[in-house]
Amino acid sequence: MAIVDNSRGAKVGATARYSALILAALLFLLPFYLLLRNALMSENDLGSPKWHWLPPTWEWGNFSAIFNDPALPMTRSLLNSIAISVFQTAGVLVISGLAGYGLARIPYRWSNAVFYLITATLLIPAAVTFVPSFVLVSSLGWISTLRGLIIPGLFQALATFLFRQFFLGFPKEIEEAAFLDGLGYWGTFWRVVVPNSFGFAAAIGTITFIGSWNAFLWPLVIGRDQTTWTVQIALSTFLTAQSVNLSQLFAAALVAIAPLLLMFLFLQRWIVEGVERTGMGGD
C-alpha cells in the first residue's frame, strides 16, 4: 500500500475513506461520551424525557456519593479487583514464564508429552469448565474467598504456550555464555533471560491484567458474598438486581474502567503486541 497515487480518483477515495473513518470513530466514541455525560448528570436530569447533550447541572457529587454509599461496597470491590488482577498477572507471568522456559530449553524425555497435556487444554473453552471448576472450588471451601477467585486463574495454558514459543526464539548464545559462567538453569533464567524478556512479559502481562480486571463469569460464580465482589460484580448486581441511583451507577462504571483507560493511554504499545500474540497463538 505504499504506492503513491495522486490521481483525482485517489483523492475522491481518500475523502470517502476519511469520512467513513470519522463517522465510525464518532460512533465508537459515543458510548464513552454517554458514560461520561451520565456520570456527571443528576438523577433527575438523566431520567427526564428531554435530551441533554451536556449535563444541565454538573453533578460532581456522584463520585463522592458512590464511595459513601453503604449499600454499594465500591472501595471494597475496587480493592478486590486490584488484588485479584495484580496477583493473577504476577502469578501468570512467573508460573507460565518458568514453565515456558522449561519446555523450551530443558531437555527431558517426557517434555513432548507434558507439552501435549498442556496444549490439549487450549482446545477446551474455559467457559465450559466453569461448572466442574465451581464444583471443585466449592468442595475446597473456597467459595466467597479471594483464594477461590485468584488461584484457579493462575494456570493459563495459552500464556505458557506463548512463553515457550518466545523462549524457543531467544538467542541461545547469551544463555550459553551464562551457563559457562556457572549460572545453571535457575540463575540463567532469572539473571539473563528475564531481564531480556521485559517487552514480551509486558505484552502478556497487560493482556492478562485486562482479562482479569474485566472477568465476569468466574467472579460471579465464586464471589457470592459482598466482601468478595469485584468491581464488575458490584456493577452487575446493581444493574440487574437492585433499584439504584442511575447516575451514580454510571459514575461507578467510569471509576471501574478508569484504570484500564489509563493503561491504554500509556501502555498501548504492549497491549497491541499482547493482542497480536494471544490472538494469533504466537504467529
Binding site: Y108, Y185, A241, L249, F264, Q268, V275, G279
Partner: protein, 323 residues
Amino acid sequence: MTTSSLPVDPSPATAATARPSLGARLRGRQNQNQWFWVFVGPFVLGLVIFIYIPIIWSIYLSFFESYNTVTPTKFVGAGNYLDMLKDESFRSSLGTFIVFALFIVPTTFALSLLTAILVARTRVMQAFFRSVFFLPTACSYVVAALIWKMSIFAGVRSGAANAMLGLFGADSIPWLSLTKPPWYWLVIVSARLWLQVGFYMILFLAALQRISTTLYEAAAIDGASRWQAFRYITLPQLRPTSAAVLLLLLINAFQAFDEFYNILASFGTYPPYARPPLVYLYYVALGQGQDFGHGSAGAVILTLVIALAAVVFNRFFSFRGED
C-alpha cells in the same frame, strides 16, 4: 523442543562428594529432569488440579443424580444426558447460539477487516483512528451492558435511541422486552460488535503490515486495479489470519454469557428468550436447584459440540496457509 544444546555441566566435580547438597545435585547433568520439574512442575500441578480433575469429576457427576452435592450416590447412567437432549430449553439455547453466531461472526469479521483496511491506508491520524477503534477493548461487558441497557437502548424516552426516534416523531421502542420484532438482538449484537471489532482489527492490521509491499508494486507495474490487488494479493495473504479470527469469533460466540446476562436479567429472573447455552447452564447448575448432574451433562455436551465445530472448521480452512 528437545534440541537444546544447553546442558553443559559447568562443575561436575561437585557430584563426586558422598552426599552433595540439593543445589549441587540440581546442577548435575543427571538432574536435568529435576530442573525440568522445578520450572514446569508448578504449572502442570495447577493445570491438573484446576483443569483436569474438575473435568474428570464433572464427567463422573454427569452420570449421577446430584442436587446440591458433589459426592452423589445415585447412579443414573445416561439419564442426565437424555434429559438434557430432550430438554426444550437446552435445545433452544443451542438454537439461540446458532442465530447469534450467524449474526455476530460475519459482521464482526467484515467490520474488523474493513476498519483494518481503512486504517492501514490512512497516513494522517492513523494512530488516532487505531486507538479509537481499539479503545472499547478496555471496557468490560458489564460496563458496556450498563451503557447499552440504561442509556443507548433504554426503553424510555430519555434513552439515546428513543430520543433520536423522537426527533422523527416516532414512538419509543421497548428495546429489551419486545420479542416481535426481536429488537433485543440489535442491542446484544451491537454491544458485542463495539467491544470486539477493535481487537480483531489489530490482528488484521498486523497481518496487513506483514504483506510485502513488493507484491503490490509488482501488481501496479502489471497494471492491476485496486480491486484486483485486493482480491488477488490482500485476501490470499490474509488467509491464515482470517481462519484464526473466524475460529476465535465462533468460540467466543459460543461462550457468550456476560452481555446476555447483564443486559437481559433483572431482579434474579431471566426472560424465556435469548438464552445462549452458557446462560442456561448457569441457571441449571448454579441457580436455585444446584443441579450438578444435569449441569455437568450439559457442559460435556457443549464441549463436544465445540470440539466438533472446531474440527469441522479446520477441515474447511486448513490452518497451514501461504505462510
